[in-house]
Subunit: 552 residues, 2 copies
């Protein structure tokens, strides 16, 4: 695969090449109809509704817009626009030709999109229904697995399958194994058999084995899909008469050295391998009620969108910038006031959407393979929702006192209600709970100081920051921390961070990003898959893969 052009995640329905979005009352239908010639990079055709990153970027955009722009939509039907085939999964030629990092990043993003589908179903009253109207293989079945209800057309040829192991020598990379066992509760021996049977399983047996929820004969297909969609819609608590918020284009400027938005700015430092990211707090007080905040310019929504885009941009396009340094700038009380408006309006569909979007965006940070450092200086606003950036960081530094000759107030951090519940990590805990996992008294001591502006000494004593150097040591300590980070093995850092960021319980989501992805990454690196004679490279060549038979 040649050097990829810079990947851009911003799109909109008017630009989709691979999906059609249709809305009829409370039911939206997302029809996958992949343009074979529309690969995001050259070198492969997207046959049989197979997908690449570009196809998934459109899906992600659609899932987001449905939540914000379409409060009236209560069921989302995912189906195929091609005859006999629902989706063949990730394009194999694309995978075979991609460098390791591209594969891993691609899987991470598709995982996040599928988690987002489940998040919409669980928290947004938008239930996803997979109308599998043809064969769903690999990533195609994994897309269906992310939906709440899976209908398979019963026509003696359509089946669901996970052929990755028998055909390609890799694992289903987008949560397939975890969802088969932990969500669908397919018995482990049946799951094992299913995952080795390239042609898959259809009809009644697929239902019996819990691989799908129902198998419907073609003559009753359209009618039954409509029936199920209506049933699921009837369960939703979304409002009947609300107006959506248009996700207007981001005001983004991007060159080789800087990425700027209205509230977020990133300076890319290629010499030291780091990115300095600055997030501005709101300039104004929040409106009196959420009703007056229905716009993409509302600060919490705007900042979540900008951070989301920045994370995806840096992650995909700037893989050699291994450390992200977060700063904030603004008035902490205004951040807390915006949080408060959202938290007091949780019954409002839009407030709910914004909180969950912020949650998902912060979760992207947690699974990002970059070292995260928070730098807390005078003039910053690490409070409430923005304090999550510091809590997500691998380390944080807060200046004790002020810089020499400065008349600024000392830097503070402030815990708010936003840190105590809504913004959970993938492990189901808040970042504060994870930080104090196994240390109840530590957690209680910190939580008690809610809404109090904490100077560096207090914050350090409470365990809310890592280090509190004074102005004499400040520059040196931060320089050493970032330079040292840049000197370590990038792979070892990725493994270290992936372990330490997730203390405590595991969920399906952490299992997907931890256990499953780590094994998949290992396999992607093995000659048996990715070597010149490996299964992934030899697929479709007519030549059998040659395996080193040693079990590891």
């Amino acid at each position: 695969m040649p050097d990829q052009p810079r990947v851009e995640f911003r799109t909109g329905p008017e630009h989709y090449r691979h999906w059609r979005l249709g809305i009829e009352g409370p039911v939206a239908t997302l029809t996958m109809d992949v343009d074979e010639q529309g690969g995001i990079v050259s070198g492969y055709d997207l046959k049989l509704n197979s997908y690449d990153l570009g196809v998934d970027i459109e899906l992600y955009d659609a899932v987001q817009r449905l939540r914000f722009e379409h409060p009236e939509v209560r069921t989302v039907v995912i189906t195929s626009g091609k005859p006999k085939i629902f989706c063949a999964g990730a394009n194999i030629r694309m995978l075979a030709a991609s460098p390791h990092g591209w594969k891993v990043n691609f899987c991470k993003f598709t995982n996040e999109t599928r988690n987002g589908i489940e998040d919409a179903t669980a928290h947004s009253g938008q239930t996803y229904l997979a109308a599998v109207n043809g064969t769903a293989s690999g990533g195609g079945y994994e897309l269906a697995l992310a939906c709440e209800h899976i209908m398979l057309i019963d026509d003696r040829s359509s089946a669901v399958s996970l052929p990755e192991l028998p055909l390609l020598g890799v694992l289903p990379g987008t949560g397939g194994l975890t969802r088969v066992s932990d969500k669908r509760h397919v018995r482990r021996d049946l799951a094992d058999y299913f995952s080795t049977k390239a042609e898959g399983i259809g009809g009644k047996k697929a239902v019996q084995w819990r691989l799908v929820d129902e198998a419907v004969p073609r003559p009753r297909w359209d009618e039954t899909v409509a029936e199920r969609a209506a049933e699921l819609a009837a369960r939703s608590g979304r409002p009947h008469d609300a107006e959506g918020v248009a996700l207007t284009p981001l005001n983004k400027t991007r060159d080789d050295d800087t990425i700027t938005y209205d509230h977020v700015e990133a300076r890319l430092d290629r010499d030291t391998g780091k990115v300095d990211i600055s997030v501005k707090g709101p300039q104004i007080d929040p409106p009196a009620s959420i009703a007056e905040a229905r716009s993409a310019d509302f600060w919490p929504l705007a900042v979540a969108r900008e951070l989301d885009d920045l994370i995806l941009d840096l992650r995909t396009n700037e893989t050699e910038l291994g450390t992200w340094v977060f700063r904030t700038e603004g008035d902490p009380t205004k951040v807390l006031a915006h949080d408060e408006l959202l938290l007091n309006s949780k019954d409002d569909w839009l407030a709910n959407e914004i909180l969950h979007y912020l949650k998902r965006t912060l979760r992207r940070l947690d699974v990002t393979s970059r070292s995260l450092i928070a730098v807390i200086e005078p003039g910053s606003c690490f409070a409430g929702s923005l304090l999550e950036l510091a809590l997500a960081a691998d380390r944080s530094f807060q200046l004790a006192g002020v810089f020499e000759d400065s008349d600024a107030e000392p830097a503070t951090i402030t815990l708010g209600e936003a840190n105590l519940g809504p913004l959970t990590m993938s492990n189901g805990l808040t970042r504060l709970q994870t930080r104090f996992w196994g240390d109840e008294p530590g957690y209680e001591a910190a939580a008690k100081r809610k809404n109090e502006a904490l100077a560096a000494e207090d914050a350090a004593d409470l365990g809310l920051i890592t280090f509190a150097p004074d102005d004499i040591d400040w520059d040196e300590e931060i320089r050493i921390a970032t330079e040292e980070r840049a000197s370590f093995s990038p792979d070892a850092l990725t493994g270290l961070e992936a372990n330490y960021r997730f203390a405590g319980p595991e969920t399906m989501e952490t299992k997907i990003f931890g256990r499953l992805s780590a094994w998949q990454n290992w396999i992607f690196n093995r000659p048996n898959a990715a070597g010149p004679d490996g299964a992934l490279r030899r697929f479709g060549t007519g030549q059998r893969a040659v395996f080193d038979r040693k079990r590891v």
Copy 2:
């Protein structure tokens, strides 16, 4: 590293080269004093109390013998016989020179041994105390982390450290990260800092950060260690007047094609890449009471020891035999009777030890990177504890009816009390619970049939076996299953099995074998660690590692 000679796991204190075992009343002391010239393969010196597989085989043996041969021991002190150094961890030259599979296997075994130390502390009343009388680096600190209480000598030079990331570009491979975060509850940012600081942390700060439990000045060292050991011993419920059971040498015969013990036999088929393992049930009824069973010949203990040794032997020495096929032979009622004696004597220290040993041995199977198939034929005794072999398998086949012209009774399986509680997997659930994870009614329906001999049709209906072919299809189905398995990518199978075998909740143990080990295996495979310019290979050469700086 040249071809390894066949590794043998059988040893005994009289053969130890690296450890001294001393016992004074209720306190045993295991002193690590590694023989530099005693590497299990040639090519490296075991300097600074660093270890290789051979050192760990002795440790495993000692941990086992303490449980069975020394009911009087209530505290086990692990300390070093070398001045100023507790243990430098796994030998780096050994790691650098080892092929990937050897490293992975070595880490797995050391992980199991450390889990066994925790198991003894939790279930056996033998509490491990780490008396860290010098610097403990990497695997040395990980050994201490497996102990219940960590004492560090406070002499301004001794420290604990995890220098793997900064020095070698890999992770602490033996549970270090997981135990730091999930057992010791070290805060994640402090843990991050600690794991990048090669020289480690000692003294009061090590206590403050929870890395150790106490730092004790040299003048009070011996006295304080003795004091703590006595305190821990006082908490134990082990008997005061019991006599141990000598773990007499196994009656093992081993050549290139067969491995035989008294109750277990393995036939190695190199052409098809499989091992046929047969386990014999007890020939005789159990004694009337556990008091009469105090001998290494008691069937449940004997069979656990033989299986344990076989698993370790095959795993380490026969990596190209990718499928293990389990059969049993004997009278199911005699198996159940032996189980019953153990379960009714759970308050007896020996019965308790045997049950936990069987549990640990079966857990070894769960984390073994081999496909496991159970074949249930007439004359077999898959009942109770031996049924766990079938429940541990990735697939099972039970003959429906009998073979033509046979006058045998049809094969049955029998659930017993042993399947309903004591023999938990690493995830904290029984294999039956894991099998029916998310399917309460399925679990209840099966559990209700306890002590009933179930023919193939019933067993299949209840979901206790995978397939129930009749005699016409039998040979063909089993042949296809094993041949097909041999045709798949060994790496992909390892990943698939590691995911499907552990549905449901995660524990520290599953996190170590899943999340942590999978990341470590990935890193071990990356040029940044294992390539010619990687950190692991360049360590000690005076040359800095060269890293591909792309974050993946």
